[in-house]
Symmetry: D2
Subunit: 255 residues, 4 copies
Amino acid sequence: MLTIGNKTFKSRLLLGTGKYPSFDIQKEAVRVSESEILTFAVRRMNIFEPSQPNFLEQLDLSKYTLLPNTAGAKTAEEAVRIAKLAKVSGLCDMVKVEIIGCDRSLLPDPVETLRATEMLLNEGFIVLPYTSDDVVLARKLCEMGAHAIMPGASPIGSGRGILNPLNLSFIIEQSTVPVIIDAGIGSPKDAAYAMELGADAVLLNTAVSEAYDPVKMAKAMRLSIDAGRLGFEAGRMPKRDYAVASSPMVGLVPN
Amino acid sequence: MLTIGNKTFKSRLLLGTGKYPSFDIQKEAVRVSESEILTFAVRRMNIFEPSQPNFLEQLDLSKYTLLPNTAGAKTAEEAVRIAKLAKVSGLCDMVKVEIIGCDRSLLPDPVETLRATEMLLNEGFIVLPYTSDDVVLARKLCEMGAHAIMPGASPIGSGRGILNPLNLSFIIEQSTVPVIIDAGIGSPKDAAYAMELGADAVLLNTAVSEAYDPVKMAKAMRLSIDAGRLGFEAGRMPKRDYAVASSPMVGLVPN
Amino acid sequence: MLTIGNKTFKSRLLLGTGKYPSFDIQKEAVRVSESEILTFAVRRMNIFEPSQPNFLEQLDLSKYTLLPNTAGAKTAEEAVRIAKLAKVSGLCDMVKVEIIGCDRSLLPDPVETLRATEMLLNEGFIVLPYTSDDVVLARKLCEMGAHAIMPGASPIGSGRGILNPLNLSFIIEQSTVPVIIDAGIGSPKDAAYAMELGADAVLLNTAVSEAYDPVKMAKAMRLSIDAGRLGFEAGRMPKRDYAVASSPMVGLVPN
Amino acid sequence: MLTIGNKTFKSRLLLGTGKYPSFDIQKEAVRVSESEILTFAVRRMNIFEPSQPNFLEQLDLSKYTLLPNTAGAKTAEEAVRIAKLAKVSGLCDMVKVEIIGCDRSLLPDPVETLRATEMLLNEGFIVLPYTSDDVVLARKLCEMGAHAIMPGASPIGSGRGILNPLNLSFIIEQSTVPVIIDAGIGSPKDAAYAMELGADAVLLNTAVSEAYDPVKMAKAMRLSIDAGRLGFEAGRMPKRDYAVASSPMVGLVPN
């Protein structure tokens, strides 16, 4: 079970809701993913324009925890403002801090992320910051009281998988709150790898929404996360430099 | 569905039967793996010594296809002899050619593997050769009439996963028979990766039998193979060098 | 030529001075490395205990620029204090900010590193901060006025080479000051790779001092850095997924 | 020193002569590479059409050992015929066996390569077979009497570097003749890596001829091969999972 703040979830897959070919495909992908937490960019939502179509209307919201993110914010103050807008809409009290510091890589701004996390914690939010895989930064977010930390595997939308498993291992090892690997997951093996490293959950979006068949990929991701988690719990075999001869073959078959 | 010779299987996981902590754990691991094909070294079986314990007695053999391998053979002639011994036992008509050519790496002998495959095909066996990831060798085995080809991911028992995904991709692309990735799989992500590359199945043993909890790992492997297969069928997103900005954020929230 | 602050250097290899088997080996390794900048931990130097042996006495200091580092500091204030001690010794006006934030990984503290860099710039130092490969953090250090930035390839003393070449590429691409890859270089290929990515220089220590033959490795590193730099300048061939047939072979030899 | 057959060479870089922008650039690249062995496809040479321009005319042949290859051959018989054509031209008695078995990957045919090697050895040639990184195949070529073995790093012209360093390590460890890493080298770090693994030499072509500045890249490759060789001889530091704290910092500077 995954516990964030005072809520508990069976699923360890958090799904983003952007860039699907259609609302129908999105709805079905969400369903087969068995995700319980859906994330969305507040600034991309038409929550203040009721006349516009809105994917949230397509979903039975009683079944999901919504995790709005602050994408579009460049500073802590902007992130806080976006988070408050989401809260007053009544949809959620959790927020993913996402403050991009580089338009080219879409990598996060460590300083503004720290500041926004502190400010939002002081405002009583359940705060999940998206962060780089900087090990000490992740620890500071954890010590500050973040309810989970969300280090990226690789740049948002890149599909390059886990670039630095060593740093993620350090982050997981030291963390006292859930670690959710966020950004860069491109295929099921990447999600399984994140979970094998000991992550508590994975957040992904493009890997499903830009697959040729998003619904089938949503199911693949669900299975791979279960597989990776079980693999972590099962305790993998050691890696060896050289092959290990199997048990001796002594005279069982007449030569 | 996986078709080898004239048999069809729902499971894409072939499981080895060596090196489990106990017969009970082996039996349970086999059960949760949902494997339909079990492989074993003929020379390690007590099939000719009825007084000895034998894992095959523990299993309901009507539920499984047995795939004996020729481990211990150094030459084509030895492999053929071992295969015939297995056949006369009445347990099977399929055989995995395994002719090790290097005691240190346990990598296969390409020349003897080719010869044994040809000889066994002439004898009417269903033949599945274990081979290196040499692309042209794999094609020759395929052209010769092998019923499936089994390129290794990395050395037997090493748990190092897929060392050369490019070669495996070439082999899968060119093959007209099932490609079963064999040897070196260490954790669920490795199995998922093999399937994402387009392999038809995965054969593994040590990754399950030497896990801290083999039964749980058997389940993890089953799920990861399903995940990888679905991921392959779903068609993954492209990898990108640079992050792709999400859909434009235009004035949905007042600034 | 490498320019840091108002100084210019022919060599692109900065060498650390710790952990050599002997002063003689250190001296010879420094010589064949052709390094012009030597780095050392102020807190490890006996600069205030004239009765103790000191590697600096072994060297003709007129030939080298000394780059003291603040290893041992946990906060910006401690780093500043150490830097000032180095300055009053009269040996140098450059300083490498090194503030470790994790005893296990020896990875740097991003917040204290930013603070120390700002404080030391205000004091008039030539400041070179050691940093993680966090892309936005590196940009902030650059914008703040750091005279060079020193992102790590992998943890100090790990010898694991470049864990995240993508992040280093982003850092190099965006930087307006020299980028010196620092920490984690284990062998000549790692140093060459750093330079091929476009780094301006490499700082290393353990890879030379813990080699079986430090003097020979010092020479290997010098050559590999020249090779990598030339390779960067020469513009490498593209990587291809598939082989490219060479020029057509048309009837030059009678068939 | 590199010894092949009864010849000894100072340089460990074998250079291919195809696909240069011009004869002048080729000539200069060859010069700065300091290569002593030049390889070329017999079938691409105009050695039987004296009216055509020919790169060999541009070079002082007394300074180089020519290594013709059998590119274009699909069978052992064709390779032998091409080798004999080269020999009668009087240019060389060494030959690189190159028998491509896959037009898409340009990977070699193991069976025909073995046959051609045996046939050419029987004819008294100095034989250097280009082979995959199949470990047992390489050993067979060695045992057969090949004067050097040339396993590929990755497909010809792909520039992907070393795909399977483990297999190359096994090949190098077991070989009693020089191992020359051939094909796939893309940049100086790749060449350095091959040498660090213990290879005796590297053969490359496209990495130089398709660089933006082939002459500069030729020099980079020369340096990187020297660096990698020295690095191998120097004995690299161990890789560590975790950072190693440097020597203790005890009270050298007053706190």
